[in-house]
Amino acid sequence: MLEMLSTSQFWFDVSKIIVIDLLLSGDNAVVIALACRNLPEAQRKKGIMYGVGGAIGLRIVLTFFAVSLLSLPYLKLVGALLLLWIGIKLILPEEEHGEGSIKAEAHLWGAIKTIIIADFVMSLDNVLGVAAAAHGSVMLLVFGLLVSIPMIAWSSQLVLKLIDRFAFIIYAGGALLGYVAGEMLIGEALFKPMLEGRLYLYWLVPVMCAVFVLAMGWWLAMRKASVVRAIDLVDGRVPAKLDAEL
């Protein structure tokens, strides 16, 4: 186990997992905080606590499910395709500020339900990404989990700020997801016979997948409105006071 630590492949995998966790974890904390906003003050803390606890538990269960599921035939293929899509989605600009039809939960269990369902959906991205990057190594999986847990609990605008400063992070993240998707594709038992004697495919396919995600992301982003406008929320006015009032 210790000699693992000295291989560059191990550290490469570790950094892949950290980046994936960073880019695909931020939303959870936002949902937890916002879902509990409409609760009475006294229940808010409880809601956040249960929400975070449930989300972490769910994340752990999902991760181990993902690993055992991915050993089944065809599922690696499905997982790889999903990852390609997740990578493309990462690069795409945000949708409009639209009016949704979701109702705000004013009860503790309603809020917790929202958090758990949200975490289920959002964790899929993260868990799939981490599982792909871990290549079935339990140690790496647990590491990925440990890194993502604080991100579930504490929202931070750090990632937003980093992306604002270095826009390429988004593209690097998209490319990385494409790359691990490619690695997963290569790992699909179905393709084993095709790989025989063609060692170059082990790097060519992941690289092609990374390029594919970048190209698709670029192309789709170009078709959307390029400038994201800031939204006006509040406009207030404090008039000059009349002299009589002074």
């Binding site: 916002l34 879902a35 959002m122 937003l160 929320l233 406009d235 207030g236 000059a240």
Partner: protein, 141 residues
């Protein structure tokens, strides 16, 4: 004269407000003061699936009003008329956009104290604003 003061609730921003209050007396006419707070758009596509817009806007409003509070208190105390505004987006871009829309003559900002690694990694809103606008930007240290 229209003066925009971006406010994030920090002491830096307050210095800018204080500076404006002090310099108002020297100006011939009372300037139109605009306070602007920008809230980061934390609601990505995934969040929108589970949280309604109303809740999100309430959250932004609460955060924004809290950030504006101290600056407003200073202007209220100085009995100066002003407008305040909360935008959702990326700070520098939102500041530049609002300045353009309101045809502001000047932007006054408090210099950010952060240095070292943080500034290197996160950059500064001021730097970005300087690149985005064509009107004078005054920095108060």
């Amino acid at each position: 004269m229209k003066i925009l003061i971006p406010v994030d609730g920090s002491a830096n921003a307050l210095r800018a407000v204080e500076h404006v209050i002090q310099s108002v007396a020297e100006l011939k006419e009372t300037p139109q003061l605009l306070l602007l707070n920008v809230q980061w758009n934390v609601a990505k596509a995934n969040v929108k699936l589970f949280i309604n817009q109303q809740t999100m806007d309430d959250y932004y409003r609460e955060q924004g009003m809290a950030a504006l509070e101290s600056a407003r208190a200073l202007l209220d105390a100085a009995v100066l008329p002003y407008r305040y505004h909360i935008s959702i987006g990326t700070p520098a871009e939102a500041i530049a956009q609002y300045a353009r829309e309101q045809q502001v003559d000047e932007i006054i900002m408090g210099r950010q104290g952060q240095g070292g690694v943080k500034a290197l990694l996160l950059g500064s809103v001021i730097n970005k604003v300087l690149h985005l606008v064509t009107i004078p930007v005054v920095l108060i240290g």
